[in-house]
Amino acid sequence: MILSQFLVLAAALFAFGVYGLLVRRNLVLILLSVELMLAAVNVNLVAFESYLVTSQAIGQVFAIFVITVAAAEVGIGLAIVLMIFRNRRSANVDDLSLMRW
């Protein structure tokens, strides 16, 4: 296995995440897309650590940090989504265009 294979995987994952973020209309799916982008970053961190840095597992530690932050982010994000749904009976991002002129 060579490094570029992992990088291609990560790039593909990130691209899927961006795609989902831009085209999905459901807030939950948008959050899932964001998770996908974070996972791509984690793959990159572990891959670079394994191939370029020889010791001390720095990339893995960072990956753990990212996972932790992502978990917290999803917690808050889902809470926001839940409140929006309760108030407006909808989780469609197109219905939430109030932040404008």
Partner: protein, 672 residues
Amino acid sequence: MTFLLAQEHVAQAGDGGFWADTAGVMLVLPLLAFLVILAFGKRMKYQGGEIAVGALAINLVWASVLFVMNMTGGVLDQTTFEIGRIGSGLVFELGWVVDGLSIMMYFLINLVGLLVFIYALGYMHGDRRVDWFFAAFSLFAGAMLVLVGAPNLIQLIVGWEGVGLASYFLIGFYWEDLEIVKAGNKAFMTNKVADVGLILGTILVGVSIGTFDLAELGRAAAEHDQTLGAVAVTAGFLLFFGAMGKSAQFPLHIWLPDAMAGPTPVSALMHAATMVTAGVYLMARTFPLFEYLGADTRNIMVAIGAITLFAIGLLALVADDIKKVLAYSTVSQLGYMMTAVAAGGYTAGLFHLFTHAFFKALLFLGAGSVIHAVHSNNMSDMGGLRKDMPTTYWTFVAGSLALSGIAPLAGFWSKDEILATLGQEGYTTVMWVAIAGAFVTAFYMARCVALTFHGSYKGHGHPHESPPIMTRPLVALAIGSILFGLFNIPGVSWPGIGNFTDWLAVREVVMGDHHAESMDFALAGIGLAAAVLGLALGWRVFGPDKGTQQMRDRFAVPLVYPLLRRKYFIDDLALGVVGATTGPVARFVDWTNTYVIDGVINGVGGLVKMLGNFVYNGVDQLGVDGIFNGLSAMTDGAGGAVRKWQTGRVQQYAAAFVAGAIILVVLFVFVI
């Protein structure tokens, strides 16, 4: 400060402590009452009368304490506050003087004022505008207190004009009647003529000695100051002219009889404690200046006083209106005071002012009580009221006897003091005129009492005695009229309190007060005889005896009687001169106003209007407004264009973000 102290009594004078330091309360309270009654009077039970009475009652506490303190040791104090100055020279101050003269006036104004106010509660009950009456009445008393408390000529003028204004309000109180409005105007304008003298005199004094302070003026006169000497005669005459107006001296007396148009309590207060005493007070306040002028100059003032006391007294013989009889009597008595003060009899003039206040207030309130009962001012509608109105009758008789100068009532002592002073100063002729005046006084008072209270009733309805709220002040004033003359028996010093002469002697500059040291029994006898003769003759002519009608016909001497009825034609002359001169002058001024002044003003106004139009249309509308409108339109347009980018759709923002990131990646990877 140097005090020119002449007598031991003055040397012992204290500063009055708390009571003198807070004497300014007396000056302020009635003015406050004026404002309070104006604001809330309509909602009060007695329409503000209780506030007016309360203010004077509190005042009387201060006045009485100071009066007693002055009796028992003397009080000499002055409190001033600076309110401004011109350069380093002329200082303007307000404050209050506490010395023998002002304490006497404080006591007099507050005591007589309080009694008249209480009387007015009954007299004005149910009348029109009672709240306004008490407001103006408070202003009247307050302005007079400001006047007598004045430490300098400026404050004196403030009080002086305040008194004039309040008297205008009160004389013209029943303004629905045009004649009454005219009487108010006449009083106000006659006083204004005299006020010019006071104001010019004040300016002259202030400019020559560099201060308006009355004590400084007295000191400058006492020390024969050269700068003051240069203007003393002119200033003295100007101040005297001012005093002639307020104190109704011939020929400026014409306003006072007409001032009877006001409600009777107003006349009582005006003739007793306030207004007409202001002129005599001014003369007494600036007494050192008049002493300084010398006897030659003062002879003219004595002559004016003598003419007033005799000639105007005669007019009271023919008046039918009871209030006019009393009014002419007041003018005549003011003549006595003026003559005395001008002749150098400081104490004599002021003592007559003091006693006169009590019996003249009493007579006016008695007349008011009668008018209240018969609803007419004319003595031809009265008569025989003796039985119906006993309290009014007896107090009125007491006042009449006091005014006539019957011993031992108040008027006897004060009039005798004046006669003695005139004799002592060498004014023998004037002294005999004054004795003749005493005869006339007794004559018209006998006529007044006989026509009002004796004979048969000639009016309508059935008259009743006035309520107690009106008769009790009468009794109080009657007691004063009977007893207060004993304060100043020549040569008699009452144990512990001295006498009136001592009380008045408490002042900063004691100079040339000529008063009798002992009783002159011969002169007193002549004066008393003149009074008794006058009363007897008056009773013989007008009393309810047989043959009276022939007596009256004989009294109506041809030429003299019409002359007196027309008041020596002075009113006609004054009004004629004023009428004849003011018409053309007014027309000329009107023409000048319409064609010259208005032309200039209209021209200037037109120019300014054109300029204004140009500035508005050209500069403001086109220039300034154009710039600002353009700027705001630009801002508005730019904002309108840019805000469309804010769609509120989160995914569009994210897309823009991703596009930006891609552009940056491309730039970093391929270009750089």
